[in-house]
Amino acid sequence: MALMQIAEPGMSTDPHRHRLAIGIDLGTTNSLVATVRNGIAVVINDEQGRALLPSVVRYRPEEEPHVGYAAQRAQSEDPYNTIVSVKRLMGRGLHDLADAGSLPYAFVDAPGMVQLKTACGIKSPVEVSAEILKRLRERAEHALGGEMVGAVITVPAYFDDAQRQATKDAAKLAGLNVLRLLNEPTAAAVAYGLDNAAEGIYAVYDLGGGTFDISILRLSQGIFEVLATNGDAALGGDDFDHRIYCWILEQSSLAPLSAHDTRLLLTKAREAKETLTEYPEVRITAVLSTGEMVDLLLTAQVFDALTASLVGKTLGPTRKALRDAGLTADQVKGVVMVGGATRMPQIQRTVAQFFKQEPLNNLDPDKVVALGAAIQANVLAGNRVADDWLLLDVIPLSLGIETMGGLVERIVPRNSTLPTARAQDFTTFKDGQTAMSFHVVQGERELVADCRSLAKFELRGIPPMAAGAARIRVTLQVDADGLLSVSAREQSTGVEASVAVKPSYGLTDDDITRMLKDSYVHAKEDVHARALREAQVEGKRLVEATQAALAEDGEALLSAAERADIARGLSALAAALEGSDLTALKRAVETLNGLTVEFASRRMDASVRKALAGHRIEDVEC
């Protein structure tokens, strides 16, 4: 029985067993799931052999929502309940949405993030995205037929903290263990770079359905180092559709449209746009619910003129990324094109002109992001791979804190390599002041009002002192997912802030439990049973990892007493894994984690020493 081995440190369960992990490209228009099988990244198709899952969710009263093609077919018939391009709503308030007026939804203005009124009640974009992720998870589980370690989910590089947190929450809600949030252009660079053994400076130009990213990377000796990234989280193929849509309205001088007709014309616009990639002109015809007819001819030339400013909008961020990387366009060795919208000829031309070279189109722009995510997931799950490589990514937007007069004090500059932590000291401005409030924002502008508000918190219990005497150090830590956590501490007394800053728009664990209970699928499933299963997976993983570490370094780095302590923690966890007491299991995991902190840090020290052993301390020759 497997559990017998657990109590015996040093005897690890088979460490070479392949761990199942997936990469998900959660796109504005289309989503995909991929995995690494026998060392090769492959997209997992649905039962009909289709790779793409349209990112469309249709809510139906008293029934499970439709996701994908079925939902897409109903989008003009049932516009309010059929949510498309939900990614553009993630982590966004109603006031952030420039085009909210023209979107055929019943928006609810909720604090932090906008919500949607549907046949199944009010849904947050996080819940809608979770439906898409759930479908992909089921697809993967079905195809892989084993227990999944976790998933890498891709996000636009230019997503801010709110949008990343929303994505991670959606994944949790969909029952996925998130190994990492990975930037889409970086995922594409991994897939491209490993495939072509590329070395040198590369740009990834990613224009999808709803977002634009440009990343500049240095690929060298197995390290993918993002030097700079920039973009526009609200610019994509959808906007090209919208330009055609406005042109149709203008040409046919139509009266204000119903949601149904809006969705119909937006769909027609998208079809026309895609046709113009292959043909010099396209005929657009539609019959509206009012009986009005649309019958227009759109030429590529007119389309180019309509969208020239959109195409131009991608060049500003491109220049800025190059500047931040300290490079010029002619130092870029190749431009990898990603995203369906890069198929448009005007995009190809513009990029070729800007970089003075033909862009690289040899990867399927629809699949490359998911494949890169799968390759990364495979490594993060702990599977050994033939060629060792590492990703170093950056934070896309600066983080700062509000100071007097509504100004932003920049603390973490954009394009800092992750993970990163920066601290800044603040002081009290009144005698005897015992509390101080902080406001963390993200963005490049000088005024707080022009940046995104991430979190507000208060540090209480500062001992009363004269104004200016207290020294409050605020530390912003950004992890490898690009997610922020904040801590504050009064330096002279060591009073810690009671700040559990979960940024204001994030979901609490309670929210997630409630949403799980609300969702139709999980009404049938026992939420508690699921939490237990997840804790068991984590517990088993911890046991395996600890045993492997003990086998490798236990003798060398630990005293007999320390080994005995950890062994006791292991047995306790093994016992908890046998039972079904969730609280006891969580406690056992925590205890063992606590017992191994010192061991983990000694192991890390030893491995750094070993890596640098060849050339410790440069010789001082002057």
Binding site: V379, G382, T417, N593, V608, L612, H615
Partner: protein, 178 residues
């Protein structure tokens, strides 16, 4: 076995001698080797203890790399290790000639902005680059050879201004390109 205190010294962490002159290739190499060991992606499948330690190490390695790679930050850091206060906030007494020059740069930028003259901005950028290079050479002399910390601190203060102007020019160029 004693702990390696990675917060103590960026130079030590990256295996470099504590001086201003820097072998950039060597810095890059050491940084990459450390990240290859400590990066959170290496331990994503392990327990929370490993993940926490990894995040601390990788954060420290990034801080060390960023500080040493950037000349102004490196000079400031060296002076900090020598317990010299660079007085960047308090000592605003700049030589009159330097202040004049600042004014001239600012006026030239404002004028180029007003007339949307990108070439003028690029010319200014070139001049400034040269000026910055002279400062860096001066810093190397003061820090590595003459061991004149006071002179180095003064150079840090004026270099800071030059960098600011340099950033203003970059912003102005950005704005013109929009």
């Amino acid at each position: 076995m004693s702990h390696y205190d990675f917060h103590k010294n960026h130079f030590e962490l990256l295996g470099l001698a504590p001086r201003f002159h820097l072998d950039a290739a060597r810095l890059d190499q050491a940084y990459r080797e450390i990240q290859a060991q400590v990066h959170p992606d290496r331990v994503a499948h392990l327990g929370s203890a490993e993940r926490r330690v990894s995040m601390q190490w990788a954060t420290a390695a990034n801080e060390a790399y960023q500080t040493l790679r950037e000349p102004l930050a490196r000079a400031r850091y060296l002076l900090h290790l020598r317990n010299v206060d660079t007085q960047e906030e308090t000592n605003t007494a700049m030589p009159a000639a330097f202040l004049m020059e600042q004014m001239e740069y600012r006026e030239a930028i404002a004028e180029a902005k007003a007339t949307q003259d990108a070439h003028a901005l690029e010319r200014l950028e070139g001049q400034l680059k040269e000026k910055i290079a002279q400062h860096l050479a001066g810093l190397e002399r003061a820090l590595d050879h003459a061991h004149d910390d006071a002179a180095a601190a003064a150079l840090v203060r004026s270099l800071r201004f030059l960098n600011k102007i340099s950033a203003e020019i970059a912003d102005a160029l950005d704005a013109l390109e929009q």
